[in-house]
């Protein structure tokens, strides 16, 4: 089996401690949480950090799912399995359960974390699309304090995020707006594989049951998660209908930039971007309608 190169190891006991360690150890230090992105890269010697700062002991501090009336707060150390199994989260953001069902596999979900997934910034990664669709913000903490970065600014490019050296992503905040719901769909070649294409959609209805807002995030069709503001603009104020989903799907297909690789042809991925955009918007609408029906009457 391939094995990592030599590395030094330290355990952080608090967020501040971790930030301090990162600052002291320098640019060659990396955080390790679940390890399911970093350790395989280290084994293949594609990543060769000199120091690892283990933040698994921060699970007590950063592993939480808090569903409030206007906001969901997810600790960055929340593990995939916890996101999958949380009923309160599924009630307000069903997209998480949709996505977590198809992320990697059960043993990996037992270790992998929300923060690790987002910070890996793989263009095919699922939770980035989920958070994009939900208009989430990322809370980044450093020695100088805390800053909040919207999802659209979080990804700087493939495998590159707004989290600077000696900073930690500590929390993801998701606004809860009335009349909304969400859905996720992914096509993969086999269970546990990365997405050929995946789409996350969130949609909000106003009191007249027309579309107040909608957001779509696509995975695996560009250098990083693709947010489609054109879809949001096109759908706002529209009646929910097959025609609306068609319109959105068309925009998604033409706006994305997939490349041909062993997961599929660019044409096929473009087709999927449209198809999955239609499907997730339709499901999100159906869910919003069910929930809305209860809350407005």
């Amino acid at each position: 089996m391939q094995v990592p190169a030599p590395v030094e190891y330290a355990r952080a006991i608090s967020v501040e401690h971790a930030i301090g360690l990162l600052g002291r150890l320098g640019e060659e230090a990396r955080l390790i949480a679940g390890g399911h992105s970093l350790l395989p890269m280290m084994k293949l010697r594609l990543a060769n950090p000199e120091y690892l700062v283990d933040i698994n002991d921060l699970h007590a501090e950063l592993g939480y799912i808090e569903v409030g009336p206007t906001e969901v707060r997810l600790g960055a150390m929340t593990r995939h399995r916890e996101l999958l199994e949380s009923d309160p989260l599924a009630a307000v953001c069903p997209i998480f359960r949709d996505a977590e069902r198809v992320i990697a596999d059960p043993p990996v979900r037992n270790r992998g974390t929300l923060g690790g997934a987002l910070c890996q910034a793989d263009p095919s990664e699922d939770l980035s699309s989920v958070c994009t669709a939900l208009d989430a913000s990322c809370v980044i903490q450093g020695a100088d304090g805390v800053r909040v970065v919207p999802m659209d600014d979080f990804h700087r490019g493939p495998y590159e995020t707004a989290v600077g050296h000696a900073e930690i992503l500590t929390e993801v905040r998701i606004p809860i707006r009335p009349g909304g719901s969400s859905a996720y769909a992914k096509v993969d070649r086999r269970a546990g594989d990365w997405a050929v294409v995946a789409a996350g959609a969130a949609l909000w209805l106003d009191e007249h049951a027309t579309i107040a807002d909608a957001r779509v995030g696509l995975a695996a069709v560009g250098p990083h998660t693709t947010h489609l503001p054109e879809v949001s603009r096109a759908l706002r104020g529209r009646e929910p209908s097959e025609a609306a989903w068609e319109l959105a799907g068309g925009i998604a297909a033409s706006a994305c930039r997939p490349v041909t690789d062993s997961r599929g042809s660019a044409d096929y991925k473009r087709h999927l971007a449209g198809e999955l955009t239609r499907r997730t918007l339709r499901t999100a609408w159906e869910r919003a309608r069910e929930r809305g029906g209860a809350s407005w009457r």
Binding site: V3, V187, R190, D261, D267
Partner: protein, 791 residues
Amino acid sequence: MTTTTPMGHGRMLRKEDRRFVRGRGRYVDDLQLPGMLHLAVLRSPVAHARIVSIDTLAAEAHPKVKAVVTGAMLAERGLAWMPTLSGDRQAVLATDKVRFQGQEVAFVVAEDRYSARDALELIDVEYDLLEPVVDVRRALDPDAALIRDDVPGKTDNHCFDWETGDAAAAEAVFARAEVVVRQELVFPRVHPAPMETCGAVADYDRIEEKLTLWSTTQAPHAHRTLLSMFAGIPEHRIRVVSPDIGGGFGNKVPVYPGYVHAIVGSIMTGRPVKWTEDRTENLVASGFARDYVMQGEIAATREGRILAVRSHVLADHGAFNGTAAPRKFPGGFFGVFTGSYDIEAAYCSMTAVHTNKAPGGVAYACSFRIAEAVYLVERLVDMLAAELDRDPVSLRMQNFIRPDQFPYTSRTGWVYDSGDYPRAMELALQIAGYDELRAEQAERRARGAGEPLMGIGVSFFTEAVGAGPRKDMDMLGLGMADGCELRVHPTGSAVVRISVQTQGQGHETTFAQLIAEELGLHPDDVDVVHGDTDSTPYGLGTYGSRSTPVSGAAAVLAARRVRDKAQLIAAGMLEVAPDDLEWSTAQGGGRFDVRGVPGSGVTIQEVAMRAHGAGDLPDGVEGGLDAQISYNPDNLTYPFGAYICVVDIDPGTAVVTVRRFIAVDDCGTRINEMIVEGQIHGGLTDGIGMALMEFIGFDEHGNCLGGSLMDYLIPTALEVPDWETGTTVTPAPDHPIGAKGVGESATVGSPPAVVNAVIDALAPYGVRHADMPLTPSRVWEAMQGRAAPPF
């Protein structure tokens, strides 16, 4: 023919499971020897390049490194090249050029596996890049780079030509045929990828001058002979042990450079040396399978009578011909491409070429290329059915070799031993509810848009397994016979030593059952010894579904020889003529009784004690109760089966879901029903894998795109259905208990069933064919009427 009795044959829990479920299996990498060192291999990052220089100084300076070895150092000892099983040669370490990505360039022996890996980073190799030959269709172009310039006089990338059948007769039939269907069919490169990668521990004892090699081999005796011939160590000074093996599927038949590295490392350091492949090494450098581009043609009358099948095969054998196949069969047993049909003429020509890809060919449970042959004919028959607007089942039924035609000599000269094809097909139809499925399909198609695209795929296969008769079959001059030694101890328990090696097939159970059945013992009273050349008789190993047909026959015949001797001893004990005795196992154990007087005689245990005990034995009878056999089969065995696959395709995403899979297998007499079923289940999963996802691709530079299990996809529990199996039993006339091999049947028979189902589902789109693997992208491209994407 008895197929199930309380004594031996029949469902029995596996003896080997007692250690496996406790985590007490002993695989090669589990071995820890005092002073053991670890070996890691530096491999070429490029597909084709001249080696300018190798600088090992920094690696040698690593404090934990004991040796760094390059091709030049091996060349000084005449060890830089080794023979392959097909008579080509392969570099143990590259000396002049690297010829595929992943080729072995140097190795390091160090105190631990992490340090060995670290030291690889310290070796500096300078390469002078050469144009790689990647596209098999362009390998023989006049301007293609020459790969094998190590072979004197070689001017092109040609590997071999081979043909079978009657070209003129086939041409005559095709010229007058009413209907001809032609199709290029690509069976892409796939990999057996056993869960345990390959590895070895070599321990050379300088005092005794004896090498012990624990290795992941499916053929320990053949490996010992090859290593002796190549390395110059006398054969009796080599012991090859194949302990528990974590799956083979053909991947562990060849001798790999890594085994030789471990041996060299141990000789150099005087310490045991362990080498264990990582997964990437396994996928990029060890024995692949398939990689055939087949031009297929089928000729028929308008009434659906199949007249002839013809094909030309372009075979990619990689940089070195590492194929493991009998010497006279460079294309394996592809000659059975006429399938299960009684036809007038057949012809196949094959051109094999070298490319800058890993060496190998014939692996992954294909019964020596029968997987390719069955795929060819079963796709062609389905395409013919589409052309004639016929149901694919009725077309097959119309053309089957009839039960009364066996033994049947095919147009390519294979003597099919026994079969009842319509019976197997009818059972499969019945289990499937075929008519109802077709009705459901028609309903769904009538409902139209939004409905899943439902497809029903049928395949029928005949295999030729159990290689093989010595007159026809050998590997590097070694006849494909198998030995068996059986000893019955004084108290009546027994030990049977066999020349084949289990990689999960359950030999420790089934061979005990075979002996138990013949001798009237309980299977628990029979110990099976295998996988150690020092303690088992010679034989060529487990692959090509040959254990039961060859070694199983040897075991039965050894047991019968013991029983014959026991009868003489029993006659002496009872003071009657041997012919006056009758054998029975009806009382819960084997015994000889005076004919017509039950209970009058002696048990096998009593005979065993007498054979070893005091007192005279009949004249001419030696003491002891044992026998030794080397079994040379008269013919191959020809298992067959009827498979039906039902798929649903999401019309929006083109994702294929296998809804049901029905498999009726006839492998003759079944020794252990449970184990046979398990073999079939595994093979069906392989077939779904190959049809839908497994694929070793290359980019234009010769970089392998299937070099990890992230890229080389193997089905999980979520991609396969609960299997529906059925059994017919047509005994093998040339096998002592009528058994045929079954280890590869399902791997061979299932890919065309899945592909036929997918194509059937896509019929409304006018799709006639699409090549494997039928990934969602490929299916979608086919629905658009386009060829598959380039990967």
